[in-house]
Amino acid sequence: MATVVTNAGRDIVTNRIKGTGTEPLNIGWGTSAGTAAVTDTTLFGEKLVDLATSAGTDHTLGTSTRQTTTVTNDTYQVIGTRTATGAGTVTNAGLFDAASGGNLFLKGDFSGIGLASGDSIAFTIKAVFA
């Protein structure tokens, strides 16, 4: 298992420092197996909130804040909840800079979380600078 800021994520960071680009606060999830790598540009088997349908992207707009882990405001945090409208097992998730499609900022894979229709996952995703 791995959790990474992707190469595309570095592009986003430098762009945002220049005051351009779009904030990566859109949450997506996927259902396929794999170990996250910095070269990844997509999730593993990204799915809609209806996990039972074919692949697609319908990212959930999260709420971003700056948090303090070690020193003031050293942490970028996005929280958001995705509710499944069809059953499936979520194996990975990430942040994108668009509501659909877009560029993958960070990604993590994890032990599968089985969801039935109506179940939801509240994600809290943090990237800590140090």
Partner: protein, 51 residues
């Protein structure tokens, strides 16, 4: 902050709380963790982090 005064994204975590359709809440805590700080000290000292 390292000795050179450079900063980078040092750690990424994904936490999850599952709420079932019947209202049952399952606090899963951290489900994904870059754990870079550990990796930095468990090998040959090379930088194994993802960025």
């Amino acid at each position: 902050m390292d000795d050179a005064g450079l900063s980078q994204i040092r750690k990424i975590t994904i936490e999850a709380t599952v709420t079932r359709a019947d209202g049952t809440v399952e606090e899963l805590g951290v489900i994904a963790d870059s754990d870079w700080e550990k990796e930095e000290t468990d090998g040959d000292g090379s930088d194994e982090r993802g960025t």
